[in-house]
């Protein structure tokens, strides 16, 4: 029996709207189709109307989890455009927050993976321990989610000895807990039985489909911008890129937990090596006409910002390639021949950030399934026409 099931745009497994159109035969997936465009916010267009400084706070809002990744990526690029050299202390603090953010993002993902697999105890435990790193981020920046610590030419806040001690203390707890999760994730039979062999992505397919981040590293490809193209402070730090050869969801769990342990190592090194001096330099208001590509290893994979300046106080163009977008083609490949029960796991295993990857809206006719591209003014005209021709007039009155 062949049938189609719409997973999304509204579905309990999805935290954000996206449509996965699955074709099943019995419990086995034969075809998968991903549809985007339910959460488009027009951020790239908005960025063209805001100044360099204002855009930091805009890019921060591209993602609710790796907010610092997007600002860092943007700020790195703008600093290159403006030929600014941020002070060492500022850079150390920026990437200290980046690693703490990776820790919080991976712990969050572990919980989500546990929940999608129906292992709610794991979810509750990881999210409890995530509070430790959230508190650390709050002591550094004053905020739990949107840290707003980056500025062009450095960071906005310094840390003192007391905060340093607190971070080191927190890292000890987190390391202990992460090792415990590693043991659970690799040994609890029902959990391993659910994850092992699910969502296979062979090495050559991972390379061919340009997958990024932990998804590729779990397929045995050790790509990591921090190692390959070390930006700012990463060439001064001692760390490894965890790789797994199992090519399945279990491998993605293992890679992420190992990455957590590497991040703790980096955090400790950065706190110990933290140089003295100012945290920021003053940035000019305008950038010379030029273009730049900035790469950054976000928790979900490689984040790329392309920034073009026309010489004014606003960017001419800001193009964001969020890591999730790079992983979609691989996801379709992973979903095929899986079971219904594996859909949420496979999809969650790329750690999707749906709103990060929204760039377009497609207009699909509900009757014929025909897709069209329309301009905004045309869309508005059609909406007005439809309203005037509607047989039933709704006299909706704004109550206030």
């Amino acid at each position: 029996m062949k049938f189609q099931v719409p997973i999304g745009p509204q579905h309990p497994a999805l935290k954000e709207p996206i449509s996965l159109r699955m074709t099943f035969e019995g419990e086995v997936i034969t075809d998968a189709d991903i549809r985007l465009g339910y959460n488009h916010r027009g951020i790239e267009k908005l960025a063209e109307q805001k100044t360099w400084i204002q855009n930091i706070y805009l890019t921060e809002r591209i993602c609710g989890i790796c907010s610092h990744s997007h600002t860092s990526c943007y700020v790195q690029g703008v600093e290159k455009l403006m030929e600014l050299e941020p002070p060492r202390r500022g850079l150390y603090l920026r990437y200290l927050v980046a690693e703490l953010e990776r820790v919080h993002s991976h712990l969050l993902w572990l919980g989500v993976a546990g929940h999608e697999a129906g292992f709610d105890s794991f979810f509750m435990y990881t999210w409890r321990d995530r509070e430790v790193v959230m508190d650390l981020l709050e002591t550094i920046s004053g905020n739990r989610v949107h840290y707003a610590i980056n500025t062009i030419g450095g960071v906005r806040r310094d840390i003192d000895e007391q905060q340093k001690a607190k971070i080191l203390e927190g890292v000890v707890t987190l390391r202990e807990r992460s090792e415990y999760y590693f043991r659970i994730g690799a040994s609890e039979p029902s959990f391993v039985g659910r994850l092992a062999g699910v969502g296979k992505l062979p090495k050559e397919r991972a390379i061919a489909l340009c997958a990024v981040g932990p998804t590729t590293r779990a397929s045995g490809v050790g790509i990591d911008v921090r190692k390959e193209d070390p930006y700012a402070v990463y060439d001064e730090l001692d760390f490894e890129v965890p790789v797994s050869d199992s090519c399945d969801v279990l491998g993605r769990v293992v890679v992420r937990v190992k990455e957590l342990l590497e991040s703790y190592k980096m955090i400790e090194q950065m706190i110990r090596k933290l140089p003295d001096g100012p945290v920021a330099v003053k940035a000019p208001r305008r950038a010379k006409p030029n273009e730049v590509v900035s790469r950054y290893e976000a928790p979900r994979g490689e984040n790329i910002h392309y920034i073009k300046s026309a010489g004014g106080d606003k960017p001419e163009r800001l193009k964001v390639r969020a890591p999730t977008l790079g992983n979609y083609p691989a996801t379709v490949e992973m979903l095929k021949n899986g079971f219904i029960a594996d859909i949420p796991l496979i999809f969650a295993a790329i750690d999707p950030c749906i709103c990060c990857a929204e760039r377009t809206v497609t207009l699909v006719s509900a009757r014929t399934g025909e897709e069209t591209v329309v301009t905004m003014s045309d869309l508005r005209r059609r909406a007005k026409a439809r309203d005037s021709q509607a047989s039933l007039k709704r006299n909706a009155v704004w109550p206030f």
Binding site: P12, H115, G118, F119, R128, F191, R194, D342
Partner: protein, 323 residues
């Protein structure tokens, strides 16, 4: 007078009112244990330590809008929740905690009542399947198919495991089986393996993690009960609670030596022993992750069924050795 007594038996104790109160308490206990194992608080707000929370949830669901899908088979869709609750409540009447008298065989305690309880406990599975099928929702249909697929896995091991103590006790009457093990408590140990199998199978029957596959929310939304809302959903939830109480009561009667000591002491035993079984069920729920439906069937036939046969063999050999 006899009519009044029967009426009280059916409606008040141990009938609907008592089962309602006790099953909501059992649900509270389960939720609280599950929450504490997960480092959460569980219900705290309604009543002392949240004791009234399940009742509040039930009342809330009763007040909610009740939607029947256009395409659904309306008669079946409307009748099944009531039928399901009636079936499990009937099974509850047969437990040997209120029919402890061995001498008189009554309508609620007779030779073969263990089979009737098992049969009545199998019916909710079919009712859930029919409910899923009659609601015509795609997710429900998948859930319904999963309910039946799982049934093929756990039902045989459950029957084998529950019937082996009965074979050792040489009786098919719950009260007599319990009395047998009360006389010779050491023999309870012979059925330990069967108890473990039965707890796992009951967990599957109650569709709780790791067997919550028919209503796995991250995969198929509400699963079997996607289209149910309001009163009908409330009845189905109550059905699941009563089923949990009856199933744990059955396990306590068969494997844990029943409920000795007459009406009052027997009742205390009933509460303690059922809560113990529910505690084990909650523990299992907190410690595991949901598995796939094909894994349930293969696990049941690869491990549970052979072990249940082994238990049967142990019991038969032991019986020959004792006589």
């Amino acid at each position: 007078m006899a009519v009044l007594r029967t009426l009280l038996y059916l409606v008040v104790y141990p009938g609907l009112v008592f089962l309602f109160v006790y099953s909501t308490f059992a649900e509270w206990f389960d939720r609280k244990v599950y929450a504490r194992l997960q480092n959460r608080m569980g219900p705290t707000h309604t009543g002392r330590s949240g004791l009234l929370q399940p009742i509040a949830d039930f009342v809330k669901l009763l007040c909610k809008e009740d939607v029947v899908p256009e395409a659904a088979d309306k008669t079946l869709f409307n009748l099944l929740p009531i039928f399901g609750l009636a079936v499990v409540a009937t099974a509850g009447l047969l437990l040997p905690v209120w029919n402890f008298s061995l001498a008189a065989s009554s309508p609620a305690s007779f030779a073969g009542d263990i089979i009737v309880v098992l049969y009545l406990l199998s019916l909710p599975t079919l009712i859930l399947f029919l409910a899923a099928w009659s609601s015509t929702n795609l997710f429900s249909t998948i859930g319904g198919a999963r309910v039946l697929t799982m049934l093929f896995g756990y039902e045989v091991p459950l029957f084998l495991a529950v019937l082996s103590p009965a074979i050792l006790a040489n009786s098919w009457r719950l009260a007599e089986i319990a009395a047998f093990y009360q006389r010779r408590p050491v023999l309870i140990l012979a059925n330990l393996l069967g108890f473990v199998i039965a707890v796992i199978a009951v967990q599957a029957k109650l569709e709780r993690t790791p067997f919550d596959i028919p209503h796995a929310e991250t995969e198929i939304v509400g699963g079997t009960l996607t289209e149910y809302s309001g009163k009908k959903l409330a009845l189905f939830r109550l059905m699941a609670d009563v089923e949990m109480v009856v199933a744990s009561g059955l396990l306590a009667a068969v494997f844990l030596g029943g409920f000795p000591g007459g009406a009052l002491l027997g009742f205390v035993y009933f509460v303690v022993k059922t809560l113990f079984v529910i505690f084990l069920l909650s523990l299992l729920r907190a410690m595991t992750s949901r598995i796939r439906v094909d894994q349930v069937v293969s696990m049941a036939w690869r491990y549970l069924a052979p072990l249940a046969v082994l238990q049967l063999l142990i019991v038969i050999l032991l019986k020959g050795f004792l006589s």
